[in-house]
Amino acid sequence: MLPQLVRRIGLMVFTVWGAVSLTFVILRLAPGDQATVQLGPDATAAEVSALRGELGLDRPIFVQYLDYLGSASTGDFGESYRFHESAMTVILERFPATVVLALTATALALTIGLLLGIMAGRSPGRLADRVISGITLVMQAIPPFWSGIMLILLMALTLRLLPSAGSGDLEHLVLPSVTLAIPFTALVARITRSSVAEVTAEPYILTARSKGLSERAVLARHAVRNSVIPVVTIVSLHIGTLLGGAVIVEQVFAWEGVGSLLVGAVGNRDYAIVQGATVLFAIVVVTMNLLADVLNSRLDPRIRAGAQA
């Protein structure tokens, strides 16, 4: 397990380095550097070149890259020109809101998704299965920004039950997390369904049934336990998708998280924030994937054995 883990962490560091570098490359390829963007079209050439010097943009590109890499590794992405503060400070201030949103959505998606998936998968082809498959198909097809707006229309404007935008209170959390959870719930339900359907066809389920266990016990003790493993794998692979969805959902509901901060920073070309937030997201995704691997080897003795061999 340990050499495996060391290798994985090595890969993880490499991936993060790649993400940091790619962000640098994209922003350098973009038309107009931070100095021209910051000063606007009315600035004189002298002003621009002065700010360039101040920001270190007049140095050779390779020196800039190394400098950027060096400060990025300490979490320093420079100062945001709009917030007049260290970009990382601004980002970390907003980070808890994104985490709360993502975790609530994940909890919702896992609970409802597993439930729907088990209901559908225990009797493949039956009515429950078909209805749930239909519902999950629609849930995956509707874009979160649209379902968010429709939820605002229904819950906030028509029924006047919940606030339409903003963040802070628990009631502000309901609509964004439900919106974000919709496609994710469908994903969890679909994987659980096929996994449960596959496992219930296994001989040991037949054994469990024929030794007289109740259907509930067969499901709880034998079927579900074994069908969770692929669910964990796929869900962890889609944490990126969830966070990407969070970026958009935050924008719809004016939720003050890193996602809406990033979209605003892209619009204003506040490169320090763009770089910092992008890298932070990448680190979260890579870390979550690693954690999921570890969790999987806890759940599945076969993976543990495979890693040792």
Partner: protein, 292 residues
């Protein structure tokens, strides 16, 4: 299995009334998908729509109202008096166009990289895998948002921004297929006979990758359409002179309380298209799955 194959007679299912109904119902999504494509390609030839603005008297008319020039606005009008039906139709063109371009572009790149990685293995495979690892570290649409956001808005940038992660699916599929195919007897025989590598890939590997890739292309097409709508919703899509569902949905958000249809209808159009493309993809997957 092989001995059974020798006496194999195809089982022809008896056509019952129910099976016919099923066939017809099964074909509906494919037909609807086709209608979207036709509407996107030819619709704008028949329906006039100006993105610059309509009659101010016609602002925020509900679906089915009669406009000042005597025509009926089936889907209503928006805050500038522009016909929503026209917007949905022109939006279909944008979606189908961008979806197709993204799938073509990323499909070509993905197949090339994936086949090379799976067939050559070694260093090529290692490099390709690491690049994919790095790209997958960016959550979903994030990389597209950054790329589309910092460059000047144009069709090319939107297609590139969406293709940056879209090709990965194609690469993974063709990589795993090329890996198994290179161990098959006909490839080995060709190698022993001294057939050149390029020819082996073209004649003995790519044809087998084509079918499943087509099935995957529909899934990626749906993904590209959703992503394009998300980008234009954020105001990072095509230049504002062109029409896009995401943009219309975003513009309707302000008028949600008084004119729900501006946001609602393009979203329904989008969801129906994605669902139909999904069904079409399922059919293709089943078809090519059986053949293998």
């Amino acid at each position: 299995m092989t001995t059974m194959g020798l006496v194999h007679t195809p089982v022809v299912p008896v056509r019952t009334g129910r099976a016919t109904v099923r066939r017809i119902v099964g074909a509906i999504p494919v037909v609807i998908f086709g209608l979207y494509v036709v509407a996107g390609v030819f619709g704008p030839l028949f329906v006039d729509y100006s993105p610059v603005g309509g009659e101010l008297d016609d602002r925020l008319l509900s679906p089915g109202s009669v406009t000042s020039d005597g025509s009926t606005a089936v889907f209503g009008t928006d805050a500038l008096g522009r016909d929503l039906f026209g917007q949905v139709l022109y939006g279909a063109r944008t979606s189908v166009l961008i979806g197709t371009l993204v799938v073509l572009f990323s499909g070509l790149v993905g197949i090339a990289v994936g086949t090379a990685a799976g067939y050559l293995r070694g260093k090529t495979d290692l490099v390709a895998s690491r690049v994919i690892d790095v790209l997958l570290a960016f959550p979903g649409i994030l990389l597209a948002i950054v790329i589309a956001g910092v460059f000047d808005r144009s069709l090319a940038i939107v297609v590139i921004a969406l293709s940056v992660t879209n090709w990965i699916g194609f690469a993974r599929l063709s990589r795993s297929m090329a890996m198994t195919l290179r161990e098959r007897d006909w490839v080995k025989s060709a190698t022993v006979m001294g057939v050149r590598r390029r020819r082996i890939i073209a004649r003995h590997i790519l044809p087998f990758i084509a079918g499943p890739t087509l099935a995957l292309a529909t899934v990626e097409f749906a993904g590209a359409i959703l992503a394009e709508a998300a980008l234009s919703f954020l105001g990072l899509g095509l230049p504002s002179a062109s029409v896009s569902w995401g943009q219309t949905i975003a513009s309707g958000k302000e008028y949600l309380a008084s004119a729900w249809w501006i946001s609602a209808i393009p979203g329904i159009a989008l969801a129906v298209l994605v669902i139909c493309v999904g069904f079409t993809g399922d059919r293709l997957t089943r078809h090519f799955g059986r053949k293998q």
